[in-house]
């Protein structure tokens, strides 16, 4: 690995900006994501910021089952995101569809939907309903270590 790559990787590890995509969640994961920014958890100390556009994002936090309406939009958002970027499946719904596995509007697990666009996408799973904020921080930290 060249020095340049090392520097790039350092930047990516120290400053992951996340964009939050709700593909049909019940809001719980979404609240807990916002919770991460607030004083008790304060992920800004790890360099994590909530980006306002997928163009600025390094990681997509996907919450919720992928509904039929959300499916093409999730794929489009992934295409629009500046690479390299991670996909984080947050919560039981995004990981496995959980309690909604037999819902008629469920259109495929998030990881499969993303893999249709990019077979090599790096996907991280953080299960829980909703995952505790501590679990989210641990998951993202592990993923960054593994880059």
């Amino acid at each position: 690995m060249s020095v340049l790559d090392k520097v790039k990787l350092w930047g990516l590890k120290k400053s992951p900006w996340v964009y939050h995509v709700n593909t049909g969640a019940c809001n719980n994961c979404d609240i807990e994501v916002l919770e991460l920014l607030t004083p008790r958890f304060d992920v800004e100390r790890l360099g994590v910021l909530l980006a306002c556009s997928p163009r600025h994002a390094d990681a997509l936090l996907v919450t919720g089952i992928c509904t039929r309406q959300a499916r093409p939009r999730l794929q489009e958002i992934y295409r629009q995101t500046a690479k390299p970027c991670l996909v984080v499946c947050l919560g039981a719904c995004a990981c496995t569809a959980g309690i909604f596995h037999d819902a008629w509007h469920f259109a495929g697990p998030v990881d499969e939907v993303i893999r249709e666009v990019d077979p090599d996408a790096k996907i991280i799973y953080i299960p829980g309903c909703p995952p505790k904020p501590e679990a989210m921080i641990a998951g993202i930290a592990k993923a960054l270590q593994d880059l």
């Binding site: 520097v7 790039k8 350092w10 930047g11 990516l12 120290k14 400053s15 607030t38 004083p39 304060d42 800004e44 100390r45 360099g47 306002c52 556009s53 163009r55 600025h56 390094d58 629009q80 995101t81 500046a82 690479k83 390299p84």
Partner: protein
């Protein structure tokens, strides 16, 4: 040769100090909000990361204006920084650009954001560009008017040997005139300083004047479409402005930068005071509506600047 050295030093110094200042900004903000805040290398990590990412250009964007805009803006801030550093290091040098040139260069960031956002082909970008334009129209007039007391003071100081209007626009003249007391020491100068500080807030694009970006309304507005190195340029430009604008205001109103004797202590103190005011304003106000912001600049800041100019004539 010396000029080149000064320019390189100015650009590098502004980048380093700018990044440091944006860290201070984020840290103080975090502390006000009961948070711990990011580590000191955070702004640098952000820039490094953005430089390593790809630049996405949407199909509806016009490529060259879109990508050229951040470069131009960055260059403008660099030029302003170079002039201000040159004056600070060697005030007696021959022409290195005067007040008017610096004001022009400081308008660059806003103008290029309008250019870039209009070229981005995004409806949010278009609205953001419109807002930025309105904001520029709002604050440029009081900004220029606020310079009058400093210019008049310089003119008065120079008029003893022989009045010379053109000379009084020189930053070195303004600095010399302040050797016996800062412009901000007089009532007129103080009012002008307040006006300039309000404008500084808008030029930095922070709350309450961040309408062009307004992440919860326009999802980033003017900078929405930028990614990768282009976004890094804009972030860098913003970070440098965070240092260059206070430096400019200190030069014009507050006795300039001095790194000898007491100056070694006083200069950082002045910069910190200005920075703290920016951060406090930013954290204790909601974002104004764009027409409220314009009303603020036209009906409050501009009259105060006019009063300051008139007062300075009778000082």
């Amino acid at each position: 040769m010396q000029t080149i050295l000064i320019v390189v030093a100015a650009v590098l110094g502004s980048i380093v100090l700018g990044l440091l200042f944006s860290w201070v900004d984020r840290l103080v903000t975090a502390r006000i909000q009961w948070r711990k805040g990011p580590p000191v290398y955070q702004p640098l990590a952000d820039i490094v990361k953005l430089l390593g990412k790809e630049t996405v250009v949407s199909e509806s964007a016009s490529l060259w204006p879109f990508l050229l805009a951040p470069v131009l803006g960055f260059a403008g801030v660099c030029a302003a920084a170079a002039i201000l550093w040159a004056v600070a290091i060697n005030p007696d040098a021959s022409f290195v650009g005067d007040l008017i040139v610096v004001i022009y260069f400081l308008t660059f960031p806003s103008l290029v954001l309008i250019l870039g956002a209009s070229a981005s082909g995004n409806p949010y970008g278009a609205v953001g560009a419109g807002r930025e334009m309105k904001l520029v129209i709002g604050y440029e007039l009081p900004f220029v008017l606020a310079m009058v007391p400093a210019i008049v003071a310089a003119g008065r100081a120079l008029s003893r040997p022989g009045f010379e209007l053109a000379g009084s626009f020189k930053l070195s003249a303004i600095l010399q005139a302040q050797q016996n007391g800062a412009v901000a020491g007089s009532l007129a100068g103080f009012l002008a300083l307040l006006c300039a500080m309000a404008v500084m807030q808008a030029k930095l694009g922070v709350v309450p004047f961040d309408q062009p970006e307004a992440e919860t309304e326009l999802t980033g507005g003017v900078i929405l479409e930028y990614s990768g190195p282009a976004l890094a340029m804009i972030k860098l430009m913003r970070a440098m402005l965070l240092f260059v604008l206070p430096l400019f205001i200190i030069t014009v109103f507050w006795g300039g930068v001095s790194l000898r004797g007491w100056g070694l202590l006083a200069t950082p103190l002045k910069v910190v005071v200005l920075l703290v005011v920016v951060v406090l304003m930013r954290n204790t106000n909601p974002r104004l509506r764009i027409e409220q912001a314009m009303k603020f600049f036209w009906f409050i800041v501009t009259p105060v600047a006019v009063i300051a100019s008139v007062l300075s004539a009778y000082a």
